[in-house]
Symmetry: C2
Subunit: 196 residues, 2 copies
């Protein structure tokens, strides 16, 4: 219905997660009618990020440098490595402010059906790194079936090497109301109760 170039832009905006046909149309119209400069800057930003950003050589997090800003920060605690599934998890943990060690980002979880095995998650690099000056490896993969399977696999690989492995606690979220918490979480919270 629109001209070919506009239709093409709408289709390509449609590829963004959470953007349907109508939102894509609204975005295209907004950029064309009110913010061409912003749209061109976005195009540049996309090109720059998508061509320059790669994985950090030591933790696999996304960065345009060879090593990310966390791995190059020498003030951190070398004896701790926290294993997470994605770069967004690193941000979440950094924002909570309770961790001052380094990270290892798997960039996914074990999922044989999608062809994601230990090799794709860089487990060999992780084992090599954990054998350095590391005292404890904290598994902070997601509390999902795949995340748990990945955590179990890594535990089985690291334990025999004499590395201390821990898993972040699961239970009722702080500030939540018991009434609205799902049964699985509640069972887990009861089973993992701590004596006071």
């Amino acid at each position: 219905m629109f001209s070919p170039v506009i239709n093409q832009l709408i289709e390509r905006l449609n590829c963004l997660p959470g953007v349907g046909k109508k939102s894509a149309q609204r975005m295209a119209m907004y950029l064309l009618e009110h913010d061409r400069q912003g749209g061109l800057l976005l195009a540049e930003g996309l090109q720059e990020a998508l061509t320059k950003v790669k994985n950090c050589q030591s933790c696999r997090n996304l960065t345009e440098y060879n090593e990310c800003h966390i791995c190059t920060d020498l003030q951190r605690d070398k004896s701790l490595i926290c294993i997470v599934e994605s770069p967004a998890d690193v941000i979440a943990i950094e924002q909570c402010g309770s961790f001052r060690g380094y990270y290892f980002v798997l960039m996914g979880h074990l999922s044989p059906i999608d062809g994601v095995g230990p090799k794709e998650l860089g487990i060999t690099d992780l084992i090599a790194r954990a054998q350095g000056h590391v005292e404890e490896v904290i598994l902070a993969t997601n509390p999902t079936v795949e995340g748990e399977a990945t955590a179990n696999y890594i535990t089985e690989k690291l334990k025999p090497l004499g590395i201390c492995v821990s898993r972040i606690a699961h239970g009722v979220p702080v500030g939540g109301e018991l009434e609205y918490i799902d049964g699985g979480t509640l069972s887990h919270a009861l089973l993992s109760r701590k004596q006071l």
Copy 2:
């Protein structure tokens, strides 16, 4: 928190309408982790559309050609011009399939506070065009205060020239339930009732 290039991408995605900080972050991560090709195509699409798309010389609709595909379609009814506020309105009317004339896209509505006057809406071009082979000008601006004001202004300009001007009907939407329709629309529907 992310690397500078990723932060820049997130900020620029944040400029899209309906995209907040969290969605922008999710989009950036999705493109970087799963769809770099799609992201680069989007960058190209943005650049192409934002540099090539301009206003149609005769109806002011958005197009990369000198005249849009509707204005160059000679099968249409030359005697009718429908005036709308935006390109999306043209699509909506085209999709309903009840109009086979030409359009004139104001690309906005009268809004003195934002510096949008008759000149910005191309009213002079509209008057020149309406004095051609046009028998009727249909005002399909939005049923808002600004849309109504714009429709009134255009009526006042065209009527003295002996041009037949009409306004699309306002009333209860077809398929709607009276119970859920706002009072203003209902009053309008009652006042504009048609004898059967």
